[in-house]
């Protein structure tokens, strides 16, 4: 049933948030420390475990996939309900932060790629074997 998927998602979220809350209290910070991230890890492990055992039917999956697909629309709604008018004057911070992050990221690509070897040789022709994606 679809609700099983939604409930599984909700359960992972609650568990993650509780762990994040406890972590915050342990460290004496009035914030949820990484609750969303922990919930994501929980979801990956729990669904992976269930799927390997064939206990994750398609209808259950669709309950999770619906919220997965709602992600960008929800982000749009979130963007539309922020205090953008007040943030407008500080817009340069956002532009510079974004630009600097991209410039540094791009500059590091050749550094990490290193010397050209087999898998780092240019794709000249279309790949002969499907990559599996």
């Amino acid at each position: 049933m679809v609700i099983y998927g939604v409930a599984l998602l909700a359960g992972c979220m609650l568990a993650g948030l509780i762990i994040g809350d406890v972590l915050g209290q342990l460290l004496g910070i009035d914030a949820n420390l990484g609750g969303v991230g922990i919930a994501m890890l929980l979801l990956i492990f729990v669904t992976g475990y269930l799927k390997d055992r064939g206990k994750l039917p398609e209808t259950t999956e669709s309950g999770i996939n619906f919220w997965n697909a709602m992600y960008i629309p929800i982000v749009v709604a979130m963007a539309a309900s922020q205090n953008v008018a007040a943030a407008f004057s500080g817009g340069m911070v956002a532009i510079l932060a974004g630009v600097l992050a991209v410039v540094l990221g791009l500059a590091l690509v050749p550094v990490l790629t290193g010397k050209k070897v087999d898998d780092a040789s240019p794709l000249e022709s279309a790949p002969t074997t499907p990559s599996g994606h």
Binding site: A86, A87, G90, V93, V109, S131
Partner: protein, 253 residues
Amino acid sequence: MNDSIVSLVDKYHLIAAFAVVGLTMYVAYWLSRHLTAGRLHGSAIAIIIGLALAYVGGVSTGGSKGLSDVTLFSGLGLMGGGMLRDLAIIATAYGVRFQEIKKAGLRGVIALFLGVLVSFVAGAVVAIGFGYTDPVDITTIAAGAVTYIVGPVTGATLGASSEVIALSIAAGLVKSILTMIATPLTARLIGLDNPRSAMIFGGLIGTTSGVAAGLAATDARLVPYGAMTATFYTGLGILLAPTVLFLAVRAIF
């Protein structure tokens, strides 16, 4: 007649928000296809429209919650609020396989951690340069430079103001859009023509829509390799930014 329609839409505000956002998405993807030939991803345009609407809403009402301060659009606040947002973000982790990261290898993992760290530090430096001194504000803007999701999630858990959260979304959006535009232009310069550099690129930049659109404009065959590492980026950012990275910022300031 008009009054009754307004009160009806107000009563069913969440439903109205679904319709409004759906329409926004349609317009955004239409613009992406016809005006930018797909170079600028529809999702980025949709978020720009969202921020623009929030600006209009804020200016016209004088409120602090963007377009959701307009009675007709109050449902946007619920739809884009912390509860549903976190649920949807967690759902995006579904289907992520850790086996994939093995394919990316050690370089891919290093690229991921370095990518989150470098973007975060870049954002933090800029925030400090602009005179922000509160560790929560600095962390939120820095997290925004990671991605436009890591920013608001971090800001919400740390209790940042909506204004700072808006800035963090904007920073992530600038990053995403610039990636879409700059990737094909700099691809040759940075050796972005093979699977390995594409995986490293995905890990270093990470903003999923930017990486996918940027690689597609460079060489569509590289997209799956970039996506392989980029998939983990936002999740890693959400895990690190409000925790280790925030504690680090707080220790310094």
